[in-house]
């Protein structure tokens, strides 16, 4: 794969991403068959992330005492599948421990900019409170339905507006007495005493209240006849059809209500759900005719595992974790009542679903959530009864398709704002919804929140004594720096160029163009050792084994196709057994004469970085600071490994980076490996600088929703521990910043009555940030189409005493330092480097690369 192709395969459009979230079912065990008997207990992936696309992998621990009861979650979300996770990391209060941001966490520099955002204020009448009651029954009643029925015999007392989960009752009003006793009768004439005790008077911003708002809001969305899929709600009546790809896209919304800096707000973003009217079986059929027979099962697994499927008989979504080729719908399983039934009969009887294909394999989905008190086992799904959702890897790699799709889902600012406004319009127009809201004494602002942000000063790109300005509108300086020499060019004295006979012309074109472009960069280049090989993996490997010596600067391989196996084998060999930088190029990318020069330029720059060269820098006033980037990759395919990439700066200008990675098998804690990484990074820093850094700033990417607590309470203490172990007198200042790319927050800049994307360098640290955090948003990149997504930075630990303004500036500066892109990117360079490393290791190498390469960007 080319770098671009790999980036593409990873670079899913954010809108789709947020939509394709998996959801389990709280009560699966009641409706879904357990695995057929006689099967071995399938693998249990405890360490596997729950997020598709893979985020985070720590075991999860949550702060206690702020969850609304399990029953409530069920009442609201789980009746159509939901999970009990604290997605919003409520109750993790990190700001209180950071002394220097107690009064203010806002920056100061830059020029102001008028912004609007996709938030609506939630308003309630003055002195509003939510009243929480405990409801007790004497004699004790078991069934929730019965408990509700008995309680609501007293609607005149309780009122029409209420939420009840079987034991906790929420009312918008205070009952006259603290303890109210009422009597109901069951069908058997049995008298039941119901005691309703006021337990809590909740202020609007209490965590319970916030969860409650979200529950009520979901009710409203349901009333609007939006369909819940996963965590979001979609409108099925007006789908976008893309028949040529057999796709259907449903427009919808993702929403959450939270306490933000000054007020409680509803954040609404447009979400698109990609649905496919194909069943998994249809998909298998069509795949069957596309691949060789012996590769069919593997290809199937590759395409299907990790996908989210929707069952046709109910509205549940499952993640495909495995395909069982030995099982079929004719297999039987034991129902909860002990009787044995085949899948065919079960689905026929239960849902009137005919299974026509009796020999199809079955899909296995591991249920990762605990249902009540029992841990649920694997769920067996019938391909014929499952519809595909989302995109397969293959579709993601289909450029035309993604372009088609993006034209529907990437909305420019104006249009996005219109779509978001539509939800509020729906809410305001619907009488039932309004009645429910009135009952609770709540309402929403009808306008998007507006406020003032800042655009920080533009950075100058420094390259060998020159300082370049770039056009902020594009956030790209490839044109400006084209003819300038690099900070540190590495000579190509002794290098290999390996290609097949068919591509010998291409190889020569590459060589000629490299000769054209390298002098301006300052790269001295000799003619490569040209090696012609057969188009087979072994041939490439043999050539490498024979020709790579300790003097080899780099091995360049021209590949005839994007087949991954060849690429993987080359990378694996040259990253582990024989540590030499390597560059793979797919022949086709060099086939267009009009672009070949530009591509050769990019390849030359990339090769230079891989050999330890440096391209450009920005001014970094902070001294003695080591910047660390961490990101994770989760092997969704085999579900076996998680890989954490770890990258640390080695010099003042942050142009050289040390790297290591942690290959973590199931059940292992990631943090132990990270400790070792930090230790070696400090050792290397010492080797380079002859002293230890006085500040360490960690940018931690790859943290999933709801994992903040784990990070604060496990990872950070381990980092501190590690630093302590370095030496008694060594007390560096540590900063840990959680970087989050996937956020629903969007900013729109108002310019002459129209909405536009805010320019790169826009910083927001007011209104939409959280009061309990030291957090801020930066829009660092520029996008050509659609809406730019800001990146969220949450400083969870900080003894640096750096002013917020400096922290923001440094973060933005680091977004300029990623050498594989002559422009500003979404995250600080160390995060992107860590991502690249983890991705390469996770996709191709599967074990830790040779440490001899660790001071070079060989993973670009």
């Amino acid at each position: 794969m080319t770098g671009r192709a790999r980036a593409r395969s990873r670079g899913r459009p954010p809108v789709l991403e947020s939509a394709v979230s998996s959801v389990g079912a709280a009560s699966v065990h009641q409706v879904l068959p357990v695995q057929p008997p006689g099967r071995q207990q399938p693998r249990v992936y405890t360490s596997l992330s729950e997020e598709p696309g893979g985020r985070g992998c720590q075991s999860e621990r949550r702060p206690e005492g702020l969850q609304i009861s399990v029953g409530f979650q069920e009442l609201s979300i789980a009746d159509r599948g939901g999970r009990r996770r604290d997605f919003n990391d409520l109750g993790v209060n990190t700001r209180q421990a950071i002394e220097h941001v107690q009064d203010s966490k806002t920056g100061t520099s830059g020029v102001t900019i008028k912004l609007t955002t996709n938030y609506f204020r939630l308003t309630s009448r003055p002195q509003w409170a939510l009243y929480q009651y405990h409801v007790g029954y004497n004699p004790e009643m078991e069934a929730r339905r019965l408990r509700s029925a008995l309680l609501f015999q007293h609607e005149e007392l309780i009122g029409k507006t209420h939420a009840f989960d079987g034991s906790v009752l929420f009312l918008p009003k205070k009952l006259t007495n603290k303890v109210t006793e009422v009597f109901s009768r069951t069908r058997n004439g049995e008298g039941v005493k119901i005691t309703i005790t006021l337990t809590n008077e909740l202020p609007p911003s209490s965590p319970t209240c916030l969860q409650f708002y979200n529950i009520i809001f979901r009710r409203l969305l349901k009333m609007l006849n939006l369909q819940q899929i996963g965590r979001n709600y979609y409108n099925p009546n007006d789908p976008i059809n893309i028949p040529s790809h057999r796709l259907m896209v449903w427009p919808g919304f993702t929403s959450s209500i939270l306490q933000y800096e000054k007020s409680i707000m509803l954040c609404v973003d447009v979400s698109h759900k990609v649905l496919r009217s194909e069943t998994v079986l249809d998909f298998m059929y069509s795949l069957y005719y596309q691949v060789e027979e012996q590769r069919f099962k593997d290809t199937c697994a590759k395409e299907l595992i990790g996908l989210i499927v929707l069952t046709r008989y109910n509205n549940r979504t499952y993640r495909v974790d495995d395909i069982d080729w030995d099982a079929s719908p004719q297999c039987t399983f034991r129902k909860s009542d002990g009787s044995e039934i085949s899948f065919i009969d079960y689905y026929k009887r239960q849902y009137n679903q005919e299974i026509t294909d009796l020999n199809q394999p079955v899909l296995i989905s591991q249920c990762r959530r605990k249902g009540g008190n029992t841990m649920l086992g694997p769920v067996v799904l019938i391909p014929e009864l499952c519809l595909l959702t989302g995109l397969t890897e293959k579709m993601r790699n289909d450029f035309n398709m993604m372009k088609d799709l993006a034209s529907h889902t990437r909305l420019p600012p104006e249009q996005r704002q219109r779509e978001i406004g539509r939800l509020v319009e729906y809410i305001q127009k619907d009488d039932n919804v309004q009645e429910e809201l009135r009952g609770w004494g709540l309402s929403f602002d009808s306008h998007l929140l507006s406020f003032t942000g800042r655009v920080v000063q533009r950075e100058k790109i420094l390259q060998s004594g020159n300082a370049f300005d770039y056009n902020p509108e594009f956030g790209d300086w490839s044109k400006e720096t084209r003819a300038a020499p690099l900070i540190c060019p590495k000579p190509l004295d002794n290098w290999l160029l390996i290609y097949t006979r068919r591509n010998s012309d291409t190889a020569n074109i590459l060589l000629q163009n490299l000769f054209k472009v390298t002098p301006a960069m300052g790269i001295k280049m000799n003619k490569a050792t040209m090696i012609e090989v057969d188009d087979r993996t072994e041939a490439y490997l043999r050539a490498l084994q024979q020709s790579v010596t300790s003097d080899t600067n780099i091995a360049v391989c021209v590949l005839s196709s994007s087949r991954k196996d060849k690429y993987d084998a080359i990378k694996k060999y040259l990253c582990t057994d024989c540590p030499v930088p390597s560059q793979c190029v797919i022949a086709r990318t060099l086939s267009k004469p009009q672009t070949v020069m530009a591509i050769a330029t990019k390849i030359a720059l990339q090769m230079n970085c891989k050999m330890g060269g440096e391209l450009w820098s920005v001014e970094i006033p902070l001294k003695e600071v080591m910047v660390v980037g961490i990101d994770c990759y989760h092997d969704t395919l085999s579900g076996k490994q998680s890989i954490a990439g770890f990258v640390a700066s080695l010099n003042q200008t942050m142009t050289r980076w040390f790297s290591r990675c942690v290959v973590q098998s199931r059940g292992q804690e990631l943090v132990d490996g990270l400790k070792a990484c930090l230790q070696t990074a400090l050792r290397d820093w010492f080797k380079w600088n002859k002293y230890l850094p006085s500040r360490i700033i960690v940018y931690r990417d790859g943290v999933g929703d709801g994992q903040l607590y784990t990070l604060v309470n496990y990872e950070v203490p381990q980092f501190l521990d590690c630093l302590k172990s370095v030496g008694k007198d060594y007390k560096p200042r540590l900063t840990v910043i959680v970087v989050k790319k996937r956020v629903s927050t969007r900013f729109f800049a108002e310019s002459m009555g129209a909405l536009k994307n805010p320019p790169p360098g826009t910083v927001v640290d007011v209104e939409v940030t959280r009061p309990e955090w030291y957090d801020f948003y930066i829009v660092s990149q520029a996008v050509r189409n659609g809406c730019v997504a800001p990146t969220h930075y949450n400083v969870i630990y900080d003894t640096s005493k750096l002013k917020p303004d400096h922290m923001q500036r440094l973060t933005y500066k680091l977004c300029h330092m990623y050498y594989n892109w002559s422009g500003v990117i979404r995250v600080p360079a160390p995060c992107q480097y860590a991502h690249k490393l983890a991705f390469l290791v996770g996709q191709s190498i599967h074990r830790e690369p040779n440490l001899l390469l660790s001071d070079r960007l060989y993973y670009l």
Binding site: L146, A149, R187, K222, P243, S286, L310, N315, N352, L358
Partner: protein, 377 residues
Amino acid sequence: ALTENIMDKNFKEEKFTGFTKFTPPLYRQRYQFVKDLVGKYKPKKVADLGCADCKLLCMLKFCGCIEVLAGVDICGSVMKEKMHRLSPLPVDYLQPREGSLTVTLHHGSVAHKDPCMLGFDLVTCIELIEHLEESELKKFPEVVFGFMAPSRVVISTPNSEFNPLLPGVKLFRNQDHKFEWTQLQFQSWALETAKCYGYSVEFTGVGHPPRGMENVGFCTQIGVFVKKYPQTSVSTQSEKPTEAVFKAVYPSLKDEKYLQNAVVREVISTAQIIKEILLNRLMLEHGEYNDDPTERKSKFQPSVNCFSDIGKLAVEKSKESFVSGNVVYIPLTTIFSFPRVNRLCGTYEKLSKLVAGQVTLSSDSSAVILNTEPEDS
């Protein structure tokens, strides 16, 4: 109180039957009975009186023959709480059903001559009549058999002779029951009613008595009423229509919009399968394949035998298609011969009409065009 009773009616027996535990649970057996009946007689319009939490309706919505489903209950709150389960699922939009389906829920009494309830083929009253007050019960036959006058009526009610076998049951199985009848009481009421309105009735039930006590009869007794004369003049005057608290129109292939989507989808997927086979064959014939020395799939004898039927047809039919340059032409007639396409469209003309403008066709509109290579930019 009725709320509770209706809500709990589904699980009362299991809870109190002790040794007389029914598998599957009795309420399921009753629903299954109705479902079997629907499967047998294929009614188009079905109404469930006393639909409570809509569970039966929910089961019936999967029956393809039903075009109209209606539920009536006196208790609005239970119905409202559970009515969303009757909404179409995402899948119903993605793979629309063949026939149309409209589901409505009405908040009202079964003793009310609601004009919305006219024209039904099957009316079910599962565990309903025992909840009716005497006045309602009196009016009930007139409303159901006289006014609504469907071709079939199913009425189920507890058999009080079975009660001694149900531990914990004192007088009635449920506090809200106004009466529970013996077999004789139910049968004489039913026969009387049937005679009066021109129906015949047959008795059966679910929940077999324990061995040796067969004379007790089924736990739930059921009467199936069939109208004797298909056409009886409806002269009774209706009362005020009740409000529909819920209405869901299911997407169906009867709707041109959904039909077109389905056809286009099927056409494209069929064309792609043919294309793959054609290209594979051409590659073999020309021996051009040089990527992997390992053997290529040469014939379509799938190891997974489910892939055989369409496969065989596709292999056979791929001969009618041809490649020119980097474009594959697959005649629409070929695609039309595939059973799924054929079933959807019915006629070739319809197929041509539906795919026009939606699928890339040859200049004379007789063939679907696909590129051999996905163009990459």
